[in-house]
Symmetry: C2
Subunit: 572 residues, 2 copies
């Protein structure tokens, strides 16, 4: 049985206990969402005393399986007003798993507006006053905490944006190199952490046991087979060369690459920011640059990279597709050096690059600065750091920014900005954006590699199958990129879990797990006041033909609602 570390910030109290039996066999998103459902009043103020911030490694976290070390962070979202889970790679989930901690629950809020760091090691947890870290960006913060507590600690942290309660603030995790660039970026969970007065969690797993696996031989054999499939898979190989940016050409071909605030789906200068351009730039400049890089130990996908400047000094690691799409083409910006710099600034402040890119996009739409204005975009992000009114506006995300500045097109669902897939041209993702309890989120069920993307037919089934499976992956702690190799052998994944936990699991275990997660999330959202009226794309996407294919989003709402209701009812 795993342990539950409960931290009450009102009382400055830390309790280590057993994870209650009802959570047995859960991890990752399944655990964070169930805990939030059980313990957070759905109508509570997201930045108030009743919300909780929950973190959990996945069910397979800390085992030797490739890419299994994602950390789920959950709570009520200040952005969507609903249940939020956002997960990220890095080293922190593995360290928590090694310490036997199944879940960390942070509740209450500090009463004196002070800041704390939570230290976790093999003996439990301790809150350390840390007012001197106020306002520090994630990079200098991680550096300072590693100086204080050792190079090998993992750090979960927020930048100033989280301290200030900005709804685009994310939670950063350190990677293998100690860089705080693996983000639970979506939904403003960094603001929830900040509201509680928690600046960082430092995890020292020295002296920890290996994660227990009930049937190590079977586990190892299954891992071996899946790992072999992984390294032989051409999609996975593409991630290793081009990173996630490898997808950009496909999305641009489909006419789904957000360009100038989702006005167009094809960016004329895509060749300057695509996977090939990224690869060439990195390899030609050399120095600290790396076209491939793993965020966690043992990852065989290595979709990360280190982007260098012209002198070969690292600018940011990684530079990812979503960031390129939102801070790049969506803002009419075609310069990887600029995008990398904006990315670094966002990471340091601790704001989601998707939400921030979308907020800059609607700012350009409103006419405050023109599309393609590189200096203007950089200045906007600097304003977030300066805490100006405009900066706070942007830091609260695309909906508020767009409304205040009077933008006509605001590309969001449930008040969360869309990732870099225009749903008119990849309609399966439109269904995911519309119906996911998370709001617009590609990781909730990415259909970019589906078929007949422009047709409304079959997209509802495609999206919901993907949403269910992704909820299971998120609960196992697995990177969703594993899907390219693992999805053909899902029963191996089930058997991996069986070998890990030593229990017989039903053949449809993953489907059951995924549905259970979604059901808890939908139920929470319903009680929080979200209805099917919010399961819709913005009006302009139902009306305005998207160039170059003149596509609108024409998947039937009734079909989406019916599928959603059938899954909600399923198993009740």
């Amino acid at each position: 049985m795993g342990k539950l570390l409960r931290v009450n910030m009102s009382r400055l109290d830390v309790q280590l206990g057993a994870l209650p039996e009802k959570f047995e066999g859960l991890g990752g998103r399944a655990l964070t969402s169930q805990l939030v459902f059980d313990e957070v009043p759905p109508t509570c103020e997201p930045l108030g005393v009743y919300n909780k911030l929950v973190m959990a490694p996945g069910i397979l976290g800390g085992t030797g399986l490739s890419s299994s070390g994602r950390l789920s962070v959950g709570g009520k979202s200040p952005l969507t007003g609903g249940m939020k889970e956002s997960n990220a790679g890095g080293t922190t989930a593995t360290k928590l798993a090694r310490l036997g901690i199944g879940a960390l629950v942070v509740e209450g809020v500090v009463e004196d507006n002070r800041l704390y760091v939570l230290l976790i090691n093999k003996d439990g947890g301790e809150l350390v006053p840390a007012d001197e870290l106020k306002g520090l960006g994630n990079y200098p913060l991680a550096k300072e905490l590693r100086r204080r507590y050792g190079e090998r600690v993992g750090v979960i942290s927020i930048g100033p944006a989280g301290e200030w309660g900005l709804a685009a603030a994310g939670v950063a995790n350190t990677d293998r190199d100690g860089a705080p660039a693996r983000f639970s970026g979506r939904g403003g969970l960094g603001a929830v952490m900040g509201s509680k007065g928690l600046k960082a969690v430092v995890i020292d797993d020295s002296g920890a046991q290996k994660v227990s696996v009930k049937d190590p031989a079977t586990f190892a054999a299954l891992c071996r087979e899946l790992h072999n499939d992984l390294v032989a898979n051409s999609t996975i190989q593409g991630y290793g060369k081009y990173g996630t940016a490898g997808i950009l050409d496909l999305v641009n071909e489909l006419g789904a690459l957000p360009t100038n605030n989702f006005r167009e789906g094809r960016f004329a200068r895509a060749g300057k920011i695509n996977g090939e351009a990224l690869y060439q730039t990195i390899t030609q400049r050399g120095g600290a640059g790396k076209p491939t890089h793993a965020c966690m130990a043992g990852c065989l996908i290595k979709c990360s990279n280190v982007y260098p400047d012209t002198n070969g000094h690292a600018v940011v690691a990684p530079l990812e597709y979503e960031t390129i799409g939102l801070l790049g083409s969506n803002c009419g910006i075609d310069d990887l050096d600029v995008i990398a710099r904006l990315n670094y600034l966002c990471n340091d402040l601790g704001v989601d690059t998707i939400e921030t890119g979308a907020a800059i996009g609607v700012t350009m739409e409103s006419g405050l600065i023109p599309f393609g204005d590189v200096g203007g975009a950089e200045k906007l992000i600097q304003e977030i750091g300066q805490g100006t009114v405009l900066g706070r506006l942007l830091g609260n995300g695309a909906v508020i920014t767009g409304r205040v500045l009077g933008a006509k097109r605001i590309p969001t669902v449930k008040r969360q900005a869309m990732p870099a897939y225009d749903p008119r041209a990849i309609k399966g993702n439109g269904v995911t954006f519309a119906t996911s309890p998370m709001g617009a989120d590609h990781t909730a069920g990415n259909c970019v590699r589906g078929k007949n993307q422009h047709s409304p037919e079959g997209q509802v089934t495609l999206s919901f199958n993907s949403q269910v499976l992704m909820a299971a992956y998120d609960s196992l702690g697995l990177c969703i990129f594993l899907g390219a190799a693992f999805n053909p052998k899902l029963d191996h994944v089930r058997r991996l879990v069986m070998a890990k936990v030593g229990l017989e699991l039903p053949p449809d275990y993953l489907t059951q797990l995924g549905k259970r997660v979604l059901q808890a999330e939908w139920a929470f959202n319903q009680q929080a006041g979200l209805t099917s009226a919010q399961d819709r794309l913005p009006e302009f996407m139902l009306e305005e033909g998207l160039p170059p294919f003149d596509l609108i989003f024409d998947v039937s709402s009734a079909e989406m609602d019916a599928m959603l209701e059938s899954i909600q009812r399923d198993g009740q």
Copy 2:
């Protein structure tokens, strides 16, 4: 049968036809809410092509009955996201009624971003291009339109805030003196008007017939009796002397006067801004000042006033309690001259003084400027007019302002700011704020003159009875202040309607009418995605004791929900 004037701003087309039979006997709020329910898709973008702006005089509008000339304006609110009706006095409803126009429906949006004025006279309506009026404040606008079209026209208009789509923008109506200071202020209907490209409606009722009354003798007799009651009523006499500000002392005594952003319920310097202070200031300064003033012909209440500066020049007319509460004590401001000036600025820009006062309050709460900062408050309103980012932020209301600036206390329900009654100390108003389909709105069911205001007992019944009756008053076109004299003789009101329309009406006619209105509004809201989760006061009001009586809002949510459901079901 009345007429329906339908104006399509996309096609620049004006059609005058008969009001469909199903609307027979409806007027005011009953008619605007039913038309919005029938014709506006509940999930539509409030500032988009599918929303409609509907205006209607009340069922008794244009008759000789005192205070019966209120104009209802309706549509989907950009502030609450639900159904909105906001009504105001002045001369416009009477003029529409005299022209036989039961409803004006404005639909579509201009395609070329141009501005128009709609001229209405006995021959119908006509759209006149009016780009030269862009950016004009309500006061110079009304002056210019009366210069062009004659001193006797009535004007319905928006200031720059409406043109710019700010969610706190209201719709102004001219009073008997031609001043555009009678506001359908709540819920952002000015932004809806602006989104359509309609700057003003000019109503010339010359040559119009008298409003038809089927049984003039009975009508006149009933009017006479009610009018006698009215002038003999001490509450009504108070309105004539002190205006609406007469209520301030009572609210302050109850500990419900919003002070420093609803942190306190009693304002130490209330004596500087109460009804007596207002009366003394006006009478001592003389000149254009008038302690009592009627906004429409034939009004016997005369709650309006003209507030003069030290030289006796008119600053604003009227200066009302809500404005004094929100722009005054709520901002820690105790100077009527300042409040009058802020009021004038708000009117000219065309923003709701309640929403704007609350937005300034949360700005002070956030620490951007201190409570009581007169110069700072004035500068904030000036920024709205300058269209700065901060100005646009404030112009979008208290919720967005508070969230962006990081205020902990945001006194709103359904994203609309609370009027000047802290619901912890006048709990009936708390029920109204929480459950009204309008969001926080005292006119939806004001319980300030109830009993045992501090106790949760009986408040649900009190509020819902008032909500039903006020919905009926709003549909008749009656000023709710009539209630003090009319409520003891409600059957006279029913008989007035019978005499007017020449039909037999059931004894519970007013209750039926009010419930029907609320049912349509709740049904629209439900389809728009509002649920009982939004029928709640902000968390801090359930938690933080309000000085001086240390009160929290403790009316049971279950009791409110049950009452609401029973009325929703009633008659279905």
